[in-house]
Amino acid sequence: MKSCLIIDDNNQEDEKLILEKYSKEKQFPITCHIFNPTKRECLREEKIADGTVRYVIDEQFVLDELRKDYGNVKFDLIAIDYNLSDPKTGLEIIRFLKEKNWKRKVPYVIYSGEADKIKEKLQLSIQEVIGDADKLKDFIENYIATNPTKIYNRGKNEAPEEDVNQSYIYKLYDYLKVTKTPMESKLSQKLEQRPNDIFDNIFPDFQGIKLKILADLVLENSERSDRFEDEFIDRCVDHFIYLKY
């Protein structure tokens, strides 16, 4: 079963119910989880110029809470609201999470009530940096490295299914319906479910390594990663075969 995470500072319980019900009706069930990055545990105090205190999102706290709440959950997609009630955008939160290797190979999409404005802003940014090698490099490093797969309009829950203004929830369904989750992403997330356990098998180069390290390894594109995966697949598939002789 597919699973997605919605990160939003507004209550998305209705959207969760819609997605789970709709996907079930379509016989392609999706489990939906919701995370609010503005909940108390994710905020830190910040003093502003006039001496008053405000609460802002602390990315590290967000990461800690996500690890605590969803460390054991496999996601096929992460959807995040762009405009959070915080100086930080959803894109910045995602960038931080990916830098910290949290579900870094899970695709993510952005949605917003102002998706068109975000796209326009993006176009302007691209026009600005073209022709300036340094700016272009910065842009690639800052944006492309964490580029979302899609930017959706938030839409309205009550809009008809075929309406252009329909809820982003239906877009999430469409995305999950057509996009297969890569095997390495599933494997990595499975290994992360017991991060501190030790790999104990007859595979000398990897014997005694913590599963957390292997979870990161399988997401790499390296000779060592290939070696582990090839043996892993070879052994697992053969384990399931019936032998007559």
């Binding site: 104990d200 098998n201 007859i202 595979f203 000398p204 070879d234 052994r235 053969d238 384990h239 075969i241 032998l243 007559k244 002789y245």
Partner: protein, 213 residues
């Protein structure tokens, strides 16, 4: 299939492979004793066997030669003429390297690395590693090795397999054994798994993998 099986005390553990009824029915010719005098004659018979024949070699070997008796070795130079266009299954130590030395003058070949079937095959590091319960793991390993060899050949003949399919049949059985051994807490069993892992790691398939057995 033509079998070359220089028989002595050190190779008799391989005997179950050729006495199995199914396999026996596919053996056209078998050569077990190679005296200094009859050595060439026996190999000439092999050389003149149908080019489509598979040759199963069961015995000792190195990267340079296959050992015919205590004095004689079939060198890669000579072997490349005898084995020209032949299909080879070389169950001997370092036969993977021996196949390399034949310079592709064969149709297809399966070879192995260092098949550790006795203490003699152990280098210094492996001697320490496998020296547990008087090297019991080696004897368990070779017993399992012979069984998997035999069963893979039975499956291959009964299903008219290509060499690629035979090769994967070997790997499948090796993997099964490694998985079983991995579950065990017994040190000897784990060492058997390690020997199997090395067997698989060094096993090669070269040439026309689509050729039938």
């Amino acid at each position: 299939m033509v079998v070359i099986y220089p028989f002595d005390n050190s190779t008799k553990f391989l005997n179950p492979v050729i006495v199995d009824d199914v396999i026996k029915s596919y053996i056209k010719d078998i050569h077990t004793h190679f005296s200094d005098e009859t050595y060439v004659e026996s190999l000439e018979i092999v050389a003149n066997s149908e080019s489509t024949s598979t040759i199963l070699y069961l015995g000792h070997g190195s990267s340079d030669e296959l050992q015919m008796n205590i004095n004689l070795g079939l060198t890669s130079d000579y072997a490349s003429s005898i084995f020209s266009n032949k299909k080879l299954l070389l169950v001997s130590c370092y036969s993977a390297d021996f196949l390399d030395a034949l310079n592709n003058k064969f149709e297809v070949g399966i070879g192995f690395g260092n098949i550790i079937d006795s203490k003699v095959d152990l280098g210094p590091a492996d001697y320490i590693r496998y020296n547990f319960e008087d090297f019991k793991c080696i004897y368990e390993f070779r017993s399992k090795f012979v069984t998997l060899l035999k069963n893979s050949l039975i499956e291959a003949y009964l299903n008219n397999y290509t060499f690629f399919q035979l090769y994967t049949a070997f790997k499948l059985r090796i993997n099964k054994i490694i998985s079983q051994c991995s579950l065990s807490k017994d040190k000897t069993t784990r060492l058997v798994g390690l020997l199997m892992f090395d067997l698989k790691k060094n096993m090669v398939l070269k040439g026309n993998s689509k050729a039938f057995l």
